[in-house]
Each structure stands twice: as structure tokens, then as C-alpha cells.
């Protein structure tokens, strides 16, 4: 028998216990950023070390893992994280959203609706939605404790005054279970409605800032807005140039060296399925 080079899923048991305790607290207090002692991972920060540590702590050998980056399964980042877990946990992998039991993601939520049997793990660069308004950690903790979120509304309202609409299009803040305002990670606000009342458990890991937070299944997630400026998602004038759907988030891509542009699904698995290519 070969002696494995790593513990199952890379992290040692003591580290996993600590992360697992933080995950349970994060679930029990939806939207609250539970601190954890982030570990060095064999990949640079910015490569989703927080998400990787959460995934490593929830994986079982029977899981089927999908990893996406900006909606695609084949970017360098997604491929290297997938290979990391194949090597260290021996899990099966898939590109098909509906086949995955655990999905680690950076910057998107799959278009295919998630189910109760799935866990979605987000890679988070900056977990604190109030950070740009108040850099001091002690102050933001107090603001969360006292539900002092007025400053957040003021910032969004200044957008409206200046641009006629809320200019924030990514990492759009939302309120979880009518209590904590949270940063859903740099997903497009197009994805915010998918966070709400989702059958899947959603976990968020920030490695550099050492925070874990969660949205349990069937939990209300309300994007911040105003009565006279209700929350709206991005819309496109045209359907996906490849599959024709009008239901998905589109990326503008350059097609040839003459600069021809077109709009296509950012979720490559969803697009391939619509085209009958899988």
C-alpha cells in the first residue's frame, strides 16, 4: 500500500477541526463573518485559499467536485484547484453543474438551479462589506453588532445622486435573514437573486482575511435597495450568440482579429448544455 503524501484533502485534522467549528458557527449565525486561523496553502493568495480551505474541510471521498472561475471550468485557476483535490482527496470531478455535490466558485453562481444535495463554496477576496466605508476592524464589528448599516445605504444613495442609479455591479451588498449585511464575493449582481431562498448550502471562505461565513439553505438574502430605486439585475439587448438563451449572464468576447465582438454565456457548462453539446 502506498503511503499518501498528504492527509486526506491536504489539511491536517487539527486544522480541519478548527475550520469545521468556524463553519458551524457561520451556519448558526447566517451572514456573520466567523474568524478562523487561515493556513498557508500550496498556492498564492488570490487563488482562493479561503475557498480551498473550506472545500478541504467539507469534502468527503464520495463527493463529485466542480470548480469554476468566472463561470468557466477550464481557466488556469479552476484547473489547478480541481487537480489539487483530485491529488489530495481522490474525489471525482465534473464540469456538469447538476452532477456536482460540491462546487467551488470564483465570481459566479451557476445558471443551472442548485439543489438540496449540493454545497456551493465561494472564494472571497474581501469579506467585509463595510471595509471601504470604515477601514477599522473594531469599528466594523461594532457596526455589525449594532446593525448600524445606515452608512451603507448612504453610499448606495450617493451613487444614485451621482449616476442616477446604483453603480455597484459586483459584490453587491445584501442582507442575510434580515440581520447581517454581507458581501456575496465579487459575483455580478445578476447572481444576487440566486442567493435568496437557495436549496443548497452556501459557504464563503476568505483566506487572506481569515473569515468564513454562510447562507444556509432556504434563507432570505435581500439585496440592499431603496423604494424609489429597487434592486435590478443586468439585462442584455441580445441573446447569447452561441446558444440563444436570454436567461444567463453574458460576457462580451472578441471573435477574430478584425475585432468582431459578440455576447456569450459566461457559464460555459450552461451554454454547452443549451447547445446540446453534452
Amino acid at each position: 500500500m502506498n503511503v499518501p503524501a498528504y492527509n486526506f484533502a491536504y489539511l491536517n485534522e487539527q486544522t480541519k477541526r478548527m475550520i469545521r467549528r468556524a463553519i458551524l458557527k457561520a451556519i448558526a449565525v447566517p451572514g456573520y463573518q466567523a474568524p478562523f486561523a487561515s493556513r498557508e496553502m500550496p498556492m498564492p493568495y488570490g487563488w482562493g485559499t479561503g475557498g480551498v480551505q473550506v472545500t478541504a474541510s467539507v469534502l468527503t471521498p464520495e463527493d463529485t467536485l466542480k470548480v469554476i472561475d468566472q463561470g468557466a471550468d477550464d481557466t488556469t485557476n479552476a484547473v489547478s484547484i480541481r487537480k489539487f483535490f483530485v491529488r489530495t482527496a481522490g474525489v471525482a470531478t465534473t464540469g456538469k453543474t447538476e452532477e456536482a455535490s460540491v462546487i467551488q466558485t470564483r465570481h459566479r453562481i451557476p445558471e443551472t438551479p442548485l439543489t438540496e444535495d449540493q454545497i456551493l463554496v465561494f472564494q472571497v477576496p474581501i469579506p467585509e462589506p463595510l471595509r471601504f466605508l470604515e477601514p477599522r476592524e473594531t469599528e466594523t464589528r461594532t457596526m455589525h453588532a449594532l446593525e448600524e448599516y445606515g452608512v451603507m445605504h448612504v453610499k448606495l444613495y450617493e451613487d444614485i445622486a451621482q449616476y442616477g442609479e446604483i453603480a455597484t455591479t459586483y459584490a453587491y451588498p445584501a442582507r442575510v435573514a434580515e440581520r447581517y449585511v454581507f458581501d456575496p464575493s465579487p459575483i455580478p449582481k445578476f447572481d444576487n437573486p440566486k442567493l435568496d431562498d437557495c436549496p443548497a448550502l452556501q459557504l464563503f471562505g476568505a483566506g487572506r482575511e481569515k473569515r468564513i461565513y454562510a447562507v444556509p439553505p432556504y434563507t432570505s438574502v435581500r439585496s440592499l435597495d431603496f423604494e424609489d430605486h429597487p434592486f435590478e439585475v443586468q439585462r442584455w439587448d441580445q441573446p447569447c450568440a452561441l446558444c440563444g438563451t436570454r436567461e444567463s449572464f453574458l460576457d462580451e468576447i472578441v471573435m477574430d482579429d478584425r475585432g468582431t465582438r459578440m455576447f456569450v454565456c459566461s457559464d460555459t457548462d450552461f451554454c454547452a448544455r443549451n447547445r446540446g453539446e453534452r
Binding site: R20, K25, I27, P30, P35, L146, Y218
Partner: protein
């Protein structure tokens, strides 16, 4: 001699954690836990699996009188390295049976409004689950979930309702039965049903 804990800790703890996490994420929904772990009676294998998955030298543990057996104490020290504390309010994990719960849940570590995670987890050994003494609602629950635990009466559920009223501080409860477990975190609202 001490009963062995997990034979294959990385894989067994991963399985146990999945069950615990799903229980916490879906309050009142009973999860199967394949606790292939030997534990000294009266510690249930499912409760032992929770201890081995979550407890270590960083987590003070309190044992209720019925669980404060020398072999259980030795087992938890040997396999988890967890320090045992004399007062339940000093514990991060409180292990009890339905028959000898700590007298007042509000005295257990509640966390602070800045750090609500600094709170106790209450693990209660129970005989099993019954439908319908309370209706649970809140995060993790679609609509309402009818739930009941053998041996836990209205006084307990009243205390858990008061616990919920203190959200975001408060404790989270895990109910460990033979081969099964369920949980009610502080986020869960509790309504007593008439028939209870």
C-alpha cells in the same frame, strides 16, 4: 483500556462532519451518522463522533454527571485531548443527556454581539426523535419543520425559544441519537404545538 476512536480519522471525521453540518444547516432534519466508532457507555457512538470531529485541546469540554464516567473522561482526553472543565459556563462544548441537562442554558457561553461565535455548543444524547412537539422555522427550513426529541419537554423548548430570542448570541444544540443526529441552532424560531 481505552476504546479506539476513529480507525481512519481523516475519512471518518469527514463523514461525521458532513452529517453534523447538514444537521446544523437544516434544523430539525434528522441526519444519519454512520458512527463506526467505539465509545465507552453511556457515551453514544454518535456523540463520540461529534466529540472526535470537533473537539481538541482548544475546546474546553463539560460533561454532565451521567457522562462524567472515568472511562469517558479518559477517552475524551486520549482521543481528543480536550480539557475538561468543572463548570458548564466555561465550556465550548457541553455534553449532556436528556435526563441531566445543565440547569440553565442561558448561563452557558453565549458569545458577544461582536463575536457571537464565542459561544457553547450543547450536545445532548437522546433516545431518538418523534414528530411534532415543536414547529421550527427560520434559516435552513423551507416553511416549517415539525420536530421532537424523546425525553425533552416543554421546559427545554421554552429555554431554546428564549435562546433564539437572544440571537445573534446564544448556543447551538446538537441532538445525538443512536445512528442519527439533528440540530437546532440559535437562528431557529420555535413554536410549541398544542399536542405537546
Amino acid at each position: 483500556m481505552t476504546e479506539r476512536g476513529f480507525a481512519d480519522a481523516p475519512v471518518q471525521s469527514a463523514h461525521a462532519f458532513r452529517a453534523i453540518m447538514q444537521a446544523m444547516a437544516r434544523p430539525g432534519r434528522v441526519q444519519a451518522i454512520d458512527a463506526d466508532v467505539k465509545a465507552p457507555a453511556p457515551l453514544l457512538p454518535s456523540a463520540a463522533a461529534v466529540a472526535l470531529t470537533l473537539c481538541d485541546f482548544q475546546t474546553p469540554v463539560w460533561l454532565s454527571p451521567r457522562l462524567r464516567d472515568e472511562r469517558i473522561v479518559h477517552y475524551l482526553r486520549f482521543h481528543a485531548g480536550a480539557p475538561l472543565v468543572a463548570e458548564p459556563q466555561a465550556a465550548q462544548f457541553v455534553f449532556a443527556t436528556a435526563a441531566d441537562l445543565p440547569p440553565r442554558l442561558g448561563l452557558l457561553a453565549q458569545g458577544t454581539h461582536e463575536y457571537p461565535d464565542r459561544s457553547a455548543t450543547l450536545v445532548i444524547q437522546v433516545a431518538g426523535f418523534v414528530p411534532g412537539s415543536v414547529e421550527l422555522s427560520g434559516p435552513g427550513i423551507r416553511g416549517g419543520e415539525r420536530f421532537g426529541v424523546v425525553g425533552l419537554d416543554e421546559a427545554f423548548w421554552t429555554a431554546m425559544a428564549e435562546n433564539h430570542a437572544r440571537f445573534p448570541v446564544g448556543i447551538d444544540a446538537i441532538f445525538a441519537a443512536p445512528g442519527k443526529l439533528a440540530a437546532v441552532p440559535r437562528s431557529t424560531a420555535i413554536r410549541m404545538l398544542e399536542s405537546a
